[in-house]
Symmetry: D2
Amino acid sequence: MPGSKVMKALVYHGPGKKAWEEKPKPVIKDPTDAVVKILKTTICGTDLHILKGDVPAVTDGRIIGHEGVGIIEEVGKGVTNFKKGDHVLISCITSCGKCEYCKKQMYSQCENGGWILGHLIDGTQAEYVRIPHADNSLYPIPKGADEEALVMLSDILPTGLECGVLNGKVKPGDTIAIVGAGPIGLAALLTAQFFTPSEIIMIDLDDNRLKVAKTFGATHTINSEKENPVEKVMSLTNGKGVDVAMEAVGLPVTFELCQKIVAIGGHIPNIGVHGKSVDLFLEKLWFRNITITTRLVDTVTTPMLLKTVQSGKIDPRKLITHRFKLDQIMEAYDTFENAGKKKTLKVIMTNENE
Amino acid sequence: MPGSKVMKALVYHGPGKKAWEEKPKPVIKDPTDAVVKILKTTICGTDLHILKGDVPAVTDGRIIGHEGVGIIEEVGKGVTNFKKGDHVLISCITSCGKCEYCKKQMYSQCENGGWILGHLIDGTQAEYVRIPHADNSLYPIPKGADEEALVMLSDILPTGLECGVLNGKVKPGDTIAIVGAGPIGLAALLTAQFFTPSEIIMIDLDDNRLKVAKTFGATHTINSEKENPVEKVMSLTNGKGVDVAMEAVGLPVTFELCQKIVAIGGHIPNIGVHGKSVDLFLEKLWFRNITITTRLVDTVTTPMLLKTVQSGKIDPRKLITHRFKLDQIMEAYDTFENAGKKKTLKVIMTNENE
Amino acid sequence: MPGSKVMKALVYHGPGKKAWEEKPKPVIKDPTDAVVKILKTTICGTDLHILKGDVPAVTDGRIIGHEGVGIIEEVGKGVTNFKKGDHVLISCITSCGKCEYCKKQMYSQCENGGWILGHLIDGTQAEYVRIPHADNSLYPIPKGADEEALVMLSDILPTGLECGVLNGKVKPGDTIAIVGAGPIGLAALLTAQFFTPSEIIMIDLDDNRLKVAKTFGATHTINSEKENPVEKVMSLTNGKGVDVAMEAVGLPVTFELCQKIVAIGGHIPNIGVHGKSVDLFLEKLWFRNITITTRLVDTVTTPMLLKTVQSGKIDPRKLITHRFKLDQIMEAYDTFENAGKKKTLKVIMTNENE
Amino acid sequence: MPGSKVMKALVYHGPGKKAWEEKPKPVIKDPTDAVVKILKTTICGTDLHILKGDVPAVTDGRIIGHEGVGIIEEVGKGVTNFKKGDHVLISCITSCGKCEYCKKQMYSQCENGGWILGHLIDGTQAEYVRIPHADNSLYPIPKGADEEALVMLSDILPTGLECGVLNGKVKPGDTIAIVGAGPIGLAALLTAQFFTPSEIIMIDLDDNRLKVAKTFGATHTINSEKENPVEKVMSLTNGKGVDVAMEAVGLPVTFELCQKIVAIGGHIPNIGVHGKSVDLFLEKLWFRNITITTRLVDTVTTPMLLKTVQSGKIDPRKLITHRFKLDQIMEAYDTFENAGKKKTLKVIMTNENE
C-alpha cells in the first residue's frame, strides 16, 4: 500500500516469540537514508539465533532480517547514487564510507554501521526498510538481472567468499576442505571455484547436504558421523592434509578438526559464529607455517559478485530450495527451522503487494 | 689442528649432561656437503631445552648448536657456490633446494633438511661442522664484514623478522607490541624497524631487558608483573589495541595476552616455541578480522639481512653481551643459563685455534 | 576578516598572468562541503605549469593551489567528521567516498572529485577555500602537531610514497635509484626510507639538490651532466642495475635512463608528469621480468603519513627552505620559480590575518 | 635403439636450413644431469624464429626444441628426485635451484640455466636429450596422466599463465582482452579462466583462430582487420576499457593497442617476444594507475598446472590440432609453418621407436 503509513513486518518479541504484524512504515531520518520497498528477502541462520534470544542486543519490537532486494521508495537529500524506482541489492553490512574502517574497506567494522540491520535497527523482513548510508550500503541491480539469485548476495555469498575463500587464499590446484555444508559452507563451495581448486572435500553430518554439495562441485564428501574425517582426509591427501581448511559451523569440535587436517603451510579461515573459546594446538602448529583468520563479512566483494552472476560464472539460485509469498513468512520460518527434515537450504519470500 | 682427525665439541649426554670433549673431525659424506671450520658460534635458548632433555629427537652423543660463521675447509664435488677458504654464514636451516617445500621457499619444511643441525645431525658448537646441501644452506660473507654481527643472522634475526615482523605484516605508522624481550623478542624489535612502525611496546617481566629494549628502539615498555599489560596497552592506544601483537615467549599466558591486546583487523604472529595448547578466544575474535600465524624460520630473508647489515641499516652486535673463546664454552653456557643475573642476551664464542 | 564576504586569493588570468587580488569568500554549496580558513599553504611545480598555460582545463579567474592546512570555518549539514574550529589537513585529492573508484581506494580517479582543487574549482592559495566531500577529503590534525610540516602531506609526500615507493615495492636491502632530486624526488627519498633500502642513488643535474639529497639519506649521488649515469649505476651495482628506478622528472630522457639502469626483476615506478610519449625498449626488457607503473597520487596513505610524522619517524620540514606571509605570495612565487638560483625546495606561506 | 650410441634429431644448419639426421646420443656430463628418452615433443613459434636465423646465439649443428615428455634413461650421481624409468615432463626452463635468481623463484634468469634447451645446448626435437640440473628442471608425471596433454606444460601453458594471467592479476569478474589468438594467446585464454573473469575478448586477424577462441571460452572476439578494435572494446565496456590487456603477439602495433584499450587501474602484461622498441603513451597513461609487466616464463607454476590437468580443471589437449610420428618431423614443421592454411595450433610428434 504505497500511500499507507503502515506495513507488515516480522517482529521479535523476546525469546521464542515472533509475529508478522503491522508496524509503521519507515521514513527518511537522515539525509543519507533511503527507504526501500522489499521485493524479495530471505532468512539467515543468525535470525534463528536472534529468535532464540542468543543475541541480547536485539530487543523486543525489532523487525529482523538483513538480506533482500527491493525498489527505492524514497531517498534523503544526501543520496546521490540512487533515485526513486531504482532496483537495489541490500547489503547485510551498512557502511558510512567515511570512518577509519570504511576507508580501509573494513565495512564490517564501520563506526556508523556494520551489521545493524535486523539487529540494532529494523531489518528487511518487512514490506519496507530504511537503509542508512544508502550510497555505500546499497548496490544497483543491472537491468534484466535475476533478482532472486541476487538475494544470495546480501550476505551468504560474500560471507563464504570473503571469510572463507579469500581469507583462505584458495589457489588453482589447491586441495581444500569445507567443514559444514549448510548454506554458508555451500556458498564457500560455490565461490571457492572462482579460483579453480583441484579437490574440494565437503564434511558434514547430513547426507542430503553432502549430496547437494556434490552437485555444487565438491569432489569428495565425508559424513563425519559415519567416517573418521581426519583419517579420510589424510588418505585423500597422501597424508599431507589440505591447503585450506574452512570452518563453516562455529563449534569447538569443527574448529579443532580444521587444525587436524590442515597441511604444512596451510590456511584455516574461520567463517562460523563462535560462542565459546576453542583449543588451539600450538604445540603442534607452531612450526607448521599455518595461518588462521577470522572475519565478519565486509561485503567488499559485492560488486565483483554482481559481475560474476551477471556473466553466468556462478549461479546462486542453486542455494534456493523453497519459495513463499512474503506474508507466508511464518511458514517460511517453519521450513527453515526444520531444514534437516525439509531439506531446506535458503528460502525466498516475495512481496507481491503493490 | 687442520691436519688432525679429531676436534673438540660440545656434546649432549642425556638430560642435564654435556661435555666439551674430543670427537672425530667431520668429513664429506655426500657430494653436496661442505665441512666448515667454525670461527664464531653462539648459544640459543633451544640449546638449553635440548640439554634439559626437552627435545627427545636429540640423542646421547650429539654435538649441539645451529648457529655460526666459519671458513670452508672442504667441499664435496657437487658444491659449486663455495670453495675452500671462503668465509661463510651457516644457516640454522638446511635446505636441499629441490624438494616440494624448498621450491616454495619454505626451507624450514625441507624434506631433506630443515632444522637438523645440532638436532638430528651434529651441530656448530665444535671446531668443525659438516653442512649438507651446502650450496643452499650457507651464505657467502662479503669481504670486510663484521663476522661477529653475522652470527646473529644464523637464526635469531631471520626468526624475529620472518615469524614476527613479516608474518605480522608490520607497516609504517603501525603500533605494535612484542610480548617477550628475550633475544628473539629483541631481534623482532630490531627488524620490525625495517618497516618504520610508529610505536613499539615491549612487554616482559625483566626490567633489565626492558631497559635494553628502550635502547634498541622500543617506544614504550611494560613490566607485566608490575602493571596490568592489557590496561596499559589499551591506555596507550586509545582503547583500540595494537596492529600487531607478537608472541615471543611460548606460553599460554603470553599468547592469551596477545589476543587481548590486538586491535580489530590486527595480526598475532607467533614466534614462541609452544609445548601446550592454548585457549583461542574465538567467541571474541570471530568477528574482529584477526590473523594468527605460526612459522618455523625459513631463513629465506638471509640475503636481505646480509645487505642490511652490510649497509649499516641494522646492527646485530647490539644483541651480544658476552664474549668467550670457543674452549671456554662451559663458562659461556653458565653465563647464558643465568641470563637474568648476568644480564646476558647473546654470547659469542670465538675459535682461536689455527 | 571573519565577518567579511571577500578575501584575497592568487588568481590565474591566462598564460603568464596571475594576481593576488580580492575574490568573494567561498560559501557552502553542497551539504558535504566545508569552508576552511587557510593557515598555511605552499606552491607546487604543477602550479607553475598552470601559470604557463600548460593545463588548458584551468581557466581565467581560477584560484590556484591544492595544498595546505587550515581551520574549519563552516561545514555543510552532511559533514559529520568535522566541526567549526577543527584544524585540518587538506588533501590535494578530493574524494566522494562512494563512487566505484573511491570504493577501490583509487581516490585520484574519483568520479566526483580527484584532483580538482586549483584546477577545476578554486584552490588553496587564498584566505579561504571550499572543500567538497569534506569528510573524505580533509584529515584531522592531532593536537600539538607541527602544522608546517603537515603541509607537505597535502601532496608531495603521498605522491613520492604512493607513486614511487609503494608502486616500486621498495624492500629492506634494496638498491634503488631516484631520477630527479626536485621536491617530489626528495619526498620519494624520504619516504623510501620507511622500507630500509640499503642503497639510495640520487640522480640529478643540480649539485645543490644532490647535496641536499645526501643530507636526506641518499647513499650515492650522480650528476648526470658530469658523469655517465648508466655507467656509474652499473659500477655501483656490480653491473646488475637497481631494484627500483623511480622516474621523478617527467621527460623521455629520464624515463629512458630508468629503463637502462633497472635490474632483472626490477621496478620502474613513474612519478613524473609526462607531456610526450617515450620509447619503451621492449626488445631489451621483454625477458627481464620488469614492472612499470603509473599513478596519480590517491592520498590513501595520508593517515599513515600522519602517524609517522606524529611519531617523529619522518621530518617533512626538511623540505621547506623558505617562509613567507600569505600576502607575500608573489615573492614566494618568485623564489619558487628561481629554485636553482635560490636553492628553493618548498616554500611555506602563512596566513597571519585574524 | 637403446643400446645404440647414435640417434636421430632435428638439427639447425644456418638460416633456412634444418635436417632430421643422425647425431651422437647424449650422455651424462655432470652429476646433476639426466638423459631423457623423448616420448612426445612439439614445435614452438620460437623454433621458427631460430630456423630463420633470428636468434644468433643458436649456431650450426644445434638440435632445437625445448618442450616434451619422456622417460628417464640415465641419471647422474647427484640426481635424487628421479631414477631410470620415471616418466617426466621437461620444462623449457632449466634451473639450478641454487643461484640468486632460482632462490627467488625467477628460474628464467637462472645463472646456470634459464632458456638453454634448443638454444645454447641441444634440445628436445630428438630421440634423446640431456637435461642439466635434472632435479629442478624435470617434473614427475603422475601415473595415468595424459602425456600428450602434458607436453603443453613444457612452455606454452606456464607462459600464458605466468606472463599473461598472473602478471596481469586477472580476478573474478574482470573484463580482459587478449591480443593475439595464436597458441600462446590461447594458452593465456585457457589459464585466465582459473580466475573466473566475466568477459574475455579475443583479438586477432585470423577468423579461424577467433572461432577456436570462442570454443575455448572467449566471450567476444574481434577481427582487428575487419573492425576497429579500440572502438569495439570501448563499446563492449561502456567506454571504460578492459581490466587486463594482454599482449600475445610481439609487435609495436599490438602493444600500442593494449595501451589504448586498458581501463584506469588496469594491467598490461606483455607475453610477446619483441624485436623493436615501442611507443609508450606516458602522456596519456601517467595519471591512469596502469601496470605494465614483462617476463620470461619461470615455469614456477608447473606443479600447480600438473594438479589442474590431473583433476580435469583444464584440458590442454584442446591446443593440439595435428599429430605425427617423431620421424615425420619435417612434415610436422610444414604443418606448423603453414598454420593459417592448415588451421594448426600445436603439433605433437610421438617417438614410437623402442
